[in-house]
């Protein structure tokens, strides 16, 4: 029993690596917040492009749908490897500028930015679908009322439809953010020492997985409160709905 416990909860090893764990988790947080914010914006842009009206804009709608289908269907790990391999190779062959191919913006290393790019383009596609559900849940009469007042489609989307849609989809967007945060672990494949990579490094030195457990604990400290927040928000929305408030 003691052996079993020490395999996963070796407090000596955890303590020795606690400082590094905070540093590593800080990378996880930075990755999550920056790619999360970008994916939120990119997803909304995709959702709005997908709802453009009229026949002349149909090609844009098709391209958007193709993009969303593609990136919802490709494993994020593959996108991360493609991004780093693709951009890096293009830069080394001088096809694209070095600053773009091997990005080290704001003094942060290129694996970090490859991760941000890959997560943003993938989660943008997921979040576009969430926004779409929200936009489609706004009653048709809202768009009609806005258009009958002389607003253009764009003005109606910006002032009337999207503000209502976002209110409806904050909980599912937060759910996607929780998933995104966990998926930042995949960036470890590029050698960024975030929480999972630190666990690997320590494991290969000590043959003890306790720092993995420490990493799990760090994640749970953030994800459990977020999950509770989502539940609370959904419950509040349901209560509003029951009182007949849209």
């Amino acid at each position: 029993m003691g052996e079993f416990f020490n395999t996963f909860f070796d407090f000596q090893i955890m303590g020795d690596n606690l400082g590094d764990a905070f540093t590593a988790f800080w990378w996880t947080i930075k990755l999550s917040l920056i790619s999360g914010a970008l994916a939120l914006v990119w997803g909304l842009i995709l959702a709005v492009l997908r709802q453009l009206p009229g026949r002349p804009l149909a090609p844009i709608r098709w391209l958007t749908i193709a993009y969303i289908d593609a990136f919802r269907g490709i494993p994020l790990l593959l996108v991360i490897l493609l991004t780093s391999g693709g951009l890096g190779t293009l830069a080394s062959q001088d096809v694209i500028p070095r600053d773009l191919g091997i990005p080290q913006w704001f003094g942060l290393p290129d694996p970090f930015w490859y991760g941000v790019i890959a997560i943003t383009i993938t989660y943008g596609a997921y979040m576009a679908e969430v926004y779409r559900a929200g936009i489609e849940a706004v009653p048709r009469g809202q768009m009609e009322a806005a258009r009958s007042l002389g607003m253009s489609h764009g003005q109606a989307m910006r002032n009337i439809i999207v503000p209502q849609a976002i209110r409806k989809v904050i909980p599912p967007l937060l759910n996607d953010f929780i998933a995104l945060m966990k998926d930042t672990a995949l960036v470890s494949v590029l050698g960024l020492v975030e929480m999972v990579q630190l666990g690997s490094d320590v494991y290969s030195e000590t043959y003890n997985p306790s720092v993995y457990v420490l990493g799990a604990a760090f994640f749970l400290v953030v994800t459990i409160p977020l999950a509770r927040l989502v539940d609370w928000m959904i419950k509040r929305q349901e209560q509003k709905f029951q009182r007949g408030i849209p």
């Binding site: 009653p139 009469g141 809202q142 009609e144 009322a145 806005a146 258009r147 009958s148 007042l149 002389g150 607003m151 003005q155 002032n159 009337i160 503000p163 209502q164 209110r167 007949g244 408030i245 849209p246």
Partner: protein
């Protein structure tokens, strides 16, 4: 009362194989109040929605003050048309995330380009006229159906339209709330507003309309002075319909 402001000729609309409008012709004179009656499915709401091109007609022409705004199957000047036509809906369609004031000011600012002070002043003025000055900062979910509908009327009027379209605006209201909304419509008619009202309120049509149009099967079957169309209908279909709605 003589100048023609809106002219509709040969308007048609179908949904797939279902012909909803099979050729609508009518003229609307400045200051005229027209009530459109008819059984459900007769195409009267579709006709109204075609007038400001919320539904795109398949064929026909619409002229606003002599200028073609729809013809050859496509809109010519959508913005001009929607600027001049205000519309009020059966389901109110207030913007639920905005107060009464914001509902009435948003399009003034975004479409008419008015500054906040001017838009606010107009909102206060109009909400006072519809009897809701004290509700100006309430959100739609705190207003009764009748109050919401009066805000919706103020919202449309704020754009200074030349013509107001009313699409069964009292049909979704509890009976005791209908009068307040109809009173606002009467007031508008008295002030000389040009109005097209699709309605089931026969007493309102009789009292307020200059002309009543009876529609059935996607065409105008009969039209004329309310006393004639409602009191002494010439067409059999009109007689049947009025027999069903007036005897109780």
């Amino acid at each position: 009362m003589s100048e023609v402001i809106l002219k509709v000729a040969g308007l048609t609309k179908s949904y797939g194989k279902l012909d909803v409008l099979t050729g609508i012709d009518f003229e609307l004179k400045k200051g005229e109040v027209v009530c459109v009656i008819g059984p459900s499915g007769s195409g009267k709401s579709t006709m109204l929605r075609c007038l400001n091109l919320l539904e795109s007609p398949d064929g026909g022409r619409i002229e606003l003050e002599g200028r073609e705004v729809f013809g050859e199957g496509k809109p010519k000047d959508l913005d001009a048309l929607r600027r001049e036509l205000g519309m009020v809906f059966q389901q109110f369609n207030l913007f639920p995330h905005m107060s009464a004031r914001e509902n009435v000011t948003i399009a003034q600012r975004k479409v008419r380009g008015r500054d906040k002070a001017a838009a606010d002043e107009r909102a206060m003025d109009l909400l006072t006229k519809v009897g809701l000055a004290d509700k100006i900062d309430e959100y739609p979910d705190r207003l009764s159906g009748g109050q919401q509908q009066r805000v919706a009327i103020a919202r449309a009027l704020a754009m200074d339209p030349q013509i107001m379209l009313f699409d069964e605006v009292t049909s979704a209201l509890d009976p005791e709330l209908v009068k307040g909304v109809l009173d606002v419509l009467r007031g508008l008619a008295d002030m000389g507003m040009t109005m097209v009202c699709v309605t089931h309120e026969m007493n309102f049509a009789r009292d307020v309309a200059d002309r009543v149009i009876f529609m059935d099967g996607g065409v105008i079957v009969e039209q004329g002075k309310p006393a004639d169309v409602l009191g002494n209908p010439q067409q059999e279909r009109t007689q049947q319909f009025l027999g069903l709605v007036l005897d109780h």
